[in-house]
Each structure stands twice: as structure tokens, then as C-alpha cells.
Symmetry: C2
Subunit: 219 residues, 2 copies
């Protein structure tokens, strides 16, 4: 390995790089199983209230899952610039060492990636948990909050893909990592926010229309 690491560009200098210790299946397995546990827990707890519709329970699962991913996983990345030196087999460092094979800008600490991840971890993470709470307690800001966070996720993903494209789109260790990590993993944060925006956008338009009609009647 030229440069002592598997990342791209090959001449990227990462002093004291410590290779990933956990296997790919362990890293993905832990994330998959913890996500499944979180989603199951939210599904069961939200099912105790007969007032919460099924679609809202699904949304709550998404918001808690994405919120914890933003805060814990992405939060670790934002505040651990030297994760690639980690020798302790810390799970979170292993995640980012592995993910960097799909997008080495993470190991290289690219400013665009750090800026987007910073906004995502610090603002969108807590806001996502708030969205789950707002759905459960039927807050009037529930829909607009969901639109706001989803737009942020879409904007972040757009900046993420565009900056890579503008810099040559060559940051993956292989095309398998490129499609599995960079394209497939991120596609969830394109498709799901888009669906949520369309749904909430329509609901807000209906609410505004109803209010306008009510106002017109009063006149």
C-alpha cells in the first residue's frame, strides 16, 4: 500500500494511520442490529398509544434512527479529526476508516465534508429527535419541522455529491466501495427525505387552504 493506507488519492498523507481491525461484516452488522433495535423499540413504544397512526409510527422510527445516526456516528466523525490513527478498535473510528474506502475525503478531512457533517450532526441530529417527539405529541410544528430537516438532508447530500463531482469523483478505493458506500448508503438520505417533503408539503398546503376558506367565510 503506497502511503500506507487504502485510500484515494494514493498520495494522500495520513501519518500514523492504523488499519481498520474489525471486519466489514462486523462493522455493518453492529450498525444494522443496533438500528433494528432502535427502530423496534420506537415501533413498540409508539404502538402503546392508540392515537398515533401507523404512518406516523413509521415516520417516528425513521426520525429516531436518522437522528441517532447523525448525532452518534456523524457526531463522532465531526469531533474526531484523527480517527484514522485510532489503535483502540473504537467502533466509531472503525466505521469511518471503513467508510473512507468509499469516500476517502473523510480520512482526508475535506472541508466540504466536515462542514456538511457538522451541520448534520449538531443541528439536524437533535432536530430529528424533536421531530419524532413532535409527531408523537401532535405538535402543530410537526410537519414544517419535518420539511425543514429533510430539506437540510437533501441540501447536505447535494453539496456532498457535487463537491466530489467537481473534484473529479475519484475518492473510492474500488468501484465496489464506491457503489456500496458512496452511492447506495447515501441514497436513503435522498429518497426518504424527498418522500417526507412531498407528504408534508401537501399537508401544509391543505391546512393553509382550509384556513383561507375559513377566513373568507368569516368575512
Amino acid at each position: 500500500m503506497e502511503g500506507g493506507h487504502p485510500y484515494v488519492p494514493r498520495d494522500l498523507i495520513l501519518l500514523d494511520y492504523v488499519p481498520v481491525s474489525l471486519t466489514q461484516s462486523t462493522i455493518l452488522g453492529v450498525y444494522g442490529i443496533s438500528s433494528l433495535l432502535v427502530v423496534s423499540l420506537v415501533w413498540i413504544l409508539s404502538g402503546r398509544s392508540s392515537k398515533i397512526m401507523k404512518i406516523d409510527r413509521v415516520l417516528m422510527c425513521w426520525w429516531v434512527f436518522t437522528g441517532l445516526t447523525h448525532m452518534i456516528l456523524e457526531g463522532y466523525f465531526v469531533f474526531s479529526p484523527q480517527f484514522y490513527k485510532d489503535k483502540t478498535m473504537c467502533y466509531f473510528a472503525e466505521v469511518w476508516k471503513e467508510y473512507s474506502k468509499g469516500d476517502s475525503r473523510y480520512a482526508a478531512r475535506d472541508a466540504g465534508v466536515v462542514a456538511v457533517e457538522g451541520i448534520t450532526a449538531v443541528l439536524e441530529g437533535p432536530a430529528s429527535l424533536l421531530a419524532a417527539y413532535a409527531i408523537a405529541t401532535r405538535k402543530s410544528y410537526s410537519c414544517i419541522l419535518q420539511v425543514a430537516i429533510s430539506l437540510g438532508q437533501l441540501y447536505g447530500t447535494a453539496v456532498y455529491f457535487l463537491t466530489s463531482y467537481l473534484e473529479g469523483d475519484n475518492f473510492a478505493a474500488s468501484s465496489e466501495y464506491y457503489y456500496a458506500y458512496y452511492v447506495f448508503a447515501n441514497s436513503f438520505w435522498v429518497v426518504i427525505p424527498t418522500i417526507i417533503i412531498i407528504r408534508c408539503w401537501k399537508k401544509i398546503c391543505v391546512a393553509v387552504k382550509v384556513q383561507e376558506q375559513k377566513k373568507a367565510k368569516v368575512r
Copy 2:
């Protein structure tokens, strides 16, 4: 001038750079006067309809002004990677040669800046004009559209400032240019979107509440 240009870092290579020809006051004057003309035109035309409230007319002025700035000025930047070579005294090239003194990442074609400006020019520009139309014609999506664009403007500005901060915040030819162009000029796109988001957010929450109450009555 080391490197033959006034930008920072001083060792930035800009082959065939042609210095800015118009004076600062001409560049700012043309932008100021054309903006004033646009705003006056929107104010007068929107005043012809007695149905449009004053606050909505002010908002229409903002949306047309910011939409045209995004599409024309920022659009030129996005699709003119070699503006710094321009010899024709093209006004738009002069604008970006001048603005690059406050943030040389524009001349250097920084990927983060180009990504944000691309989203702003291509998506937010036309959407801003649509927002002005939606206000004038009292569309039910008027509020949510204004929140969406304003959030995009805030997100873009956040990425813009954060990436500069992460890369050392040293891209200005002097502290005067730094404060006048980089800080002051951009501050409008922090303050005004924030005010619009707060206003529209509240209106949407009220509309949702009214609709919920109506639903509860029907039951």
C-alpha cells in the same frame, strides 16, 4: 503582485489573469442602481392590486431581487470558470474579479463555493421568482416555498462560512475586503431568510392548528 493577481493565497496560480478594469464604485453602483430599479418596479406593479398587503409587497421585492441576483450574477459565476481571464470588461466578470478580493476561493474555483453557488443559481434563483408569483397570487404553497428557499439560503451560507473557517479563514486581500464583501454582503442572506422563516413558520403552525380544531369539531 506575486502571482500577478491580488488574491489569497498569494501562491495561487491563475494563468492569463486579467486585472479588474472597472472601479469599485462603478461595480457596486451598477448593482445598487439595477437592484433599486428592480425593487421599485416590483413595488409599483404590486401596488396596482389592492389585494396585496404592504408586507407581502416588501417580500415580493426581496424575492425578485434575490432571485435575479442568484440567477444572473451567481449563475454567471457558476457557468464561467474562467471569468478571471476576461478581457472584454464584461460587467459580470468584473463583479467576480472584485468580489474575489473578499473571498479568493471564487477565483480559485473552490469546489465547496461552486457547489453552493450552483444550487443557489439553478434551484433557488427560479424558486425565488416563483415565491414572488406565489405571494402575488395567494397560492397555498406560498409560505412553505418561502421557508424552503430561505432554509436553502441559510444552509448554503453556513456551508460557505464553515468551509472557509475550516480551511483557515484566510482568503481576503485585506481586512477591508473581508468585512465589506465576505461578512457584510453575505449577512443579508443570513438575516433576511431568518426573519422570513420565523414569520412563515408561525403562519404555518397557526394554519395547522386551525385545521386540527376544525377536524376535532367535525368528529
